[in-house]
Subunit: 703 residues, 2 copies
């Protein structure tokens, strides 16, 4: 067990234990004792000799013996001292319940930092400050001021909000569901979600990890820990604050599309985390994952004693992207012969309003035996002949634990004892078919993630040194914006096709360049001070002769001098005209938490108006790149509608992988867009027609 | 009261009353008696003298007196006779509980029709068959075999599923919520949702109508009744079967886009019906609507004793399209001065974890007093100092009933009695902030519907007689497809701009037409047997000279003769080339239930690939037509992006209104598309560049 002193201590001191009921120092002590903690409990309070029937000490040194853990509940100004004393007394773990640190301003933040440093120096694990504490039900440890002790079970909870910790605990206790660990992380001065994900991943008592997060401390470490944990057991997370989009100014298309929520979504997906979109979904999913095996596919059998709820469930299954399936062959005909003639063995399987528990068993058995069925949703509505409790027991008795069975006993009083029975027998129960189906979909997605093929990253042969030189030169001269010509140099070095082009500083040079490249050509002003070139008359296309080139050069340089008098003009970039084709945008923006987010979208309005883009955190595999394309709504356009040929999808996927390699190799690249990337038909050459790269000395978040 | 004999009878006969517990004939009788029905109860059963302590008669004639209502629970073959006897005994209402009619096949359907006819002839209201019965809590009438009698309250339920009726009743009873009427409609042989919507609209005991529907009998009548009801009180409906798209073949774009669910959505929206997307939402919304006043706007104040759930609520508010608002001026500063300094009066208003009921009252009062606040969401999580019951009482006591207050007490055991208290005090309570916000959004949408400006239909001056002639000619000659030239004639008669054009039957005629129209021109083969003209070489564009016209005529007629040997060629349509502009699709398809559904979408891929279309049931007002445009995602493109001028939105809206008038005037038009409708800049002329109309002798559903 990681963090053994914290999660399985043999002795716990409560610094600030109190005799006054209602005070946190009292609640913690009584929780420890009433929770049945079997180690030593040492109340520390200079003004009491005894608290709650336990001998009390004025300080840790009077106690004399070593302690494993200290829980500190005294006011903030005294906490530093208490931490030092705890360490001196041998504590390997400290929980600071006390508030008044990071959350109250600078002075509190300074204090918190000081304490964290002391703990680090003392090699002590610190939980909090400003937290509810923690519970380890299997260790009979209630080191919190929550008002309940759950029974031991398979669900572990980590939460950044103490209040939600309490609400979750209260919910679990009221449904008599078991918990393993419940950890309130508070201000996360030391231990955070990343640490606990690792700890709970290797905790045999934990079957499912449930988390409530408001922020993440280190995106990369989190993703690594989350992926490692997800490979071992399901991790369900609720992320609050989804509509608070990043306020950071973004100069690229990709940047302006990528909100913080997109980044969390991409990070969760990448790491196999099951994302709960509502608070109720957290429990709904956790319950199913803790109680039932994962489905192997998306074919859902629905069993019901009423038509209406069966339709509801079927709607929900179809809308979720799973399939309502019908029993096949032998199991269908066997079931049909045993049910009343008016019953339906189609899907939903309608057992009729007078279905008893026996009829449910027949249907569940048939669905279990049928190879086409991956999962089973059982619905019961209270009718005249309905036997909720007996049915719950009978379903549990016939369950073979190979396919998930999720249940919805609908209604209130009539089904209440049946619902209690279901949970007691490890059959997850939901108040509506829709919620059962949503939980099943979460299981199915997680199952698909587990079954995904191994991630194989392609390393392309590239000219890394050339890119390094360009980037360093820009950074040294304080030019974070890489102009088009240099950006294309970088792309060329990473294997992209770019149009032939040359920089010209005089009209004669421009003509010479145009002749070398071959008409028609395009000309673009090159200046670090001119971003929107075409708006200022800095772009001319389709020039067909020497004269046109000369005219364009003179006009362009004159206009830019007039319109941006202080612009440093490096010259005019003379470039081959690109063939026409499908235009897409490929890009990258660096999320402060999760690092390089790759973007893909169809060009122009699809990105700007329809916001039809997908993101993926680099590095990316070929399959993931292809999924980025497939996950846009406009994908059908790339595949070709109305008999058009498909665009060269592989070329786009490869380009995304090359960008992935580039931005992983060079963390100085803060943002980039290839817009447009012109993609031809399968086999044609695709080309990066325009590109923009922004550098940063110290890119945020990504180490 | 409409249907008085059914809903408020003075005497009820139970034909098929039974002495055997568990039998429906027993359950109904005991429900009637135990429910406290104060009128006469007359059990009819030839083999008993007494049932459940009530004198029993062998038949109605032996009873001798007149009855108001009969409930029939005997097997299907005997029902007809029982209906006749009931009518003879003076019954004005009959409930047939018995199953085995329409739902079991042809013979049952015939029987059901026969019985319905007898009732109609006898001027008797019939509920069922194949239903659960009904409950009128205020009349102490439990004429059902449901196992509970709810307390009297303001929510009335109509349901097409008996099982869901039971589940809803069970839910209401278990939360101790009052109901007015509960009506299980069964097979709807006579009375249906339309009748009960009207009845409940004028029922003073009913504050909110809740409905579960699988199908609707008459779309038009339903919409009228629903709109009339919605004007008086909120109507919340759940429609099952949303993914079963209409299987009808559709030849137009509009037809292929419009599934049955789109039609229900459009009909509900039009009629002011609040649509519940999940079963739980039905109750969630009904509870809020029954207990709280409607909000006057979208500004939501959030009050919480914990940060996390406050963020959840704020996310939900923003995602729903409402606004999280901050208290202003006086009320903000007054509140700030009364709360602890660490509390936040921003929004969410965070009262801190130790908030007592008094602190909640201060915040609720401040939010009520603040003019910027339209509605209030109160969140409570169980923490050390929390007083759930006292807080519930205190909030109820300070409520001024001017703005809705929705509450979420999160958790289980700790808040259970607080939650009970809330409901008892008419404060709707939800297990999560998200569900409270969803209910608030439903209230807000309904409130906006009520406040909508009066619907004023524009009648355009049109040439109705010309259209009548064209349509009749087509129908007489059995040609449901109206060709492009004639379709454009129809559009021209209804005020559309169409390109100049003439039919030519020889090359010389084509040249003459082209000269009259002026080059460049387009030519299109005209044949009722050639639908995809351009695929078969039947379209030539941009012809610029006499020679080109002659070549095109000869080539086109030759190719069509080769490729569709049996095609009847009417000639070649010679037409002015259209200017370029924004292309949109305007269309109409006739839904079998709800009649003419107008469609709008941007042309080409926006309709075909992005499915970015909106629907509205005709007739349509100018404002509604404009909303159709605004509700597409691609609307920004019409308004103009990157400094482009806006398209002439008014021209599109007017055209939708003209189509609305056309398809309302001519119900023989089954489907039509104008694709593309080319729309210019504001002030430019817009033009119907291509059109297709399909006729039907008897268009389905729309009377």
């Amino acid at each position: 067990m990681m963090y053994e002193a914290l999660l399985e201590p043999n002795s716990v001191a409560v610094i600030g234990a109190s005799r006054t009921p209602g005070k946190v120092g009292y609640e913690i002590l009584t929780n420890l004792k009433d929770g049945g903690f079997e180690g030593a409990i040492i109340p520390i309070n200079p003004s009491s000799e005894e608290v709650y029937g336990i001998k009390c000490y004025p300080d840790l040194s009077s106690y004399g013996k070593k302690i494993d853990m200290a829980i500190i509940v005294i006011p903030a100004p005294f906490v530093t001292k208490a931490v030092e004393c705890s360490i001196a007394a041998g504590a390997k773990a400290i929980i600071i319940i006390t508030a008044g640190f990071n959350e109250v301003g600078e002075e509190g933040a300074r204090l918190q930092e000081e304490i964290a440093a002391i703990c680090k120096a003392g090699n002590v694990d610190l939980l909090g400050p400003n937290c509810l504490g923690l519970i380890n039900a299997h260790h009979k440890l209630n080191a919190s001021f929550a008002s309940h002790m759950p029974k031991p079970g398979g669900i572990s909870v980590i939460s950044q909000s103490g209040a939600l910790c309490t609400a979750m605990l209260d919910w679990a206790v009221s449904r008599d569901l078991g918990l393993a660990k419940l950890i309130s992380m508070g201000n996360k001065a030391d231990l955070s979600e990343t640490d606990f994900l690792s700890a709970l991943a290797s905790d045999p008592a934990t079957k499912v990890v449930v988390g409530y997060l408001e922020s993440i401390d280190s995106g990369n470490a989190f993703m690594k820990a989350a992926e490692a944990a997800s490979l071992k057991k399901p991790v369900v997370m609720f992320k609050a604050g989804v509509t608070q989009a990043g306020s950071r100014a973004a100069s690229s298309h990709t940047g302006s599309m990528a909100g913080a929520d997109m980044a969390y979504g991409a990070a969760f997906k990448r790491s196999g985390i099951i994302r709960a979109d509502t608070f109720e979904a957290l429990f709904d999913y956790a319950m199913a994952l803790a109680m039932q095996p994962l489905p192997k596919g998306d074919n859902v059998a629905i069993i019901t004693n009423a038509g209406g709820p069966g339709i509801m469930a079927a709607d929900a299954v179809e809308l979720s992207g799973m399939s309502v399936c019908t029993l096949q062959g032998a199991s269908a005909s066997a079931l049909k012969s045993r049910l009343p003639s008016a019953a339906s063995v189609g899907n939903p399987i309608d057992l009729l309003g007078d279905a008893d528990s026996e009829r449910y068993v027949m249907a569940v058995e048939a669905a279990q035996d049928d190879d086409t069925v991956d999962s089973i949703v059982v619905i019961l509505t209270p009718q005249a002949m309905t036997q909720p409790v007996e049915t719950a027991k009978a379903i549990a008795a016939c369950a073979k634990h190979q396919k998930p069975i999720l249940v919805s006993f609908m209604g209130g009083l009539d089904v209440f004892s049946g619902r209690e029975e279901l949970l007691a027998l490890n059959l997850p129960d939901y108040p509506s078919p829709e919620r059962a189906v949503a939980a099943l979909k979460a299981m199915s997605d997680y199952s698909a993630w587990l079954r995904r093929p191994p991630r194989v990253l392609t390393r392309f042969l590239v000219n890394r040194r050339r890119v390094s030189r360009i980037i360093n030169r820009h950074l040294k001269t304080g030019q974070p914006q890489v102009g088009e010509a240099q950006a294309k140099e970088i792309l060329r070095a990473y294997g992209f096709n770019v149009p032939l082009g040359r920089m010209a500083t005089t009209a004669d040079e421009a003509i010479e360049a145009a002749q070398k490249i071959g008409f028609p050509i395009a000309m673009k002003i090159s200046s670090p001070d001119v971003i929107h070139k075409s708006d200022l008359g800095g772009v001319k296309l389709n020039l067909d002769s020497d004269d046109e080139v000369r005219d364009a050069f003179d006009l362009m340089t004159m206009r830019i001098r007039q319109r941006v008098p202080k612009a440093r003009i490096e010259g005019v970039y003379v470039e081959q005209m690109c063939k026409r084709g499908r235009e897409v945008i490929l890009g990258m923006t660096r999320d402060p938490q999760f690092g390089p987010m790759l973007m893909f979208g169809l060009g122009g309005i699809f990105v700007e108006v329809m916001k039809d883009v997908t993101f993926h955190i680099a590095p990316i595999t070929e399959r993931e790149a292809m999924q980025m394309l497939e996950n846009t709504k406009s994908f059908a356009l790339l595949k070709g509608v109305r008999g058009q040929a498909s665009a060269d999808l592989a070329a786009i996927a490869t380009s995304l992988q090359r960008i992935s390699q580039l931005v992983t190799d060079f963390t100085q690249i803060a943002e980039m867009d290839i817009n447009p990337f012109i993609v031809g038909k399968m086999g044609d050459e695709s080309i990066a027609a325009d590109a923009r790269i922004t550098l940063a000395e110290r890119p945020g978040g990504h180490e």
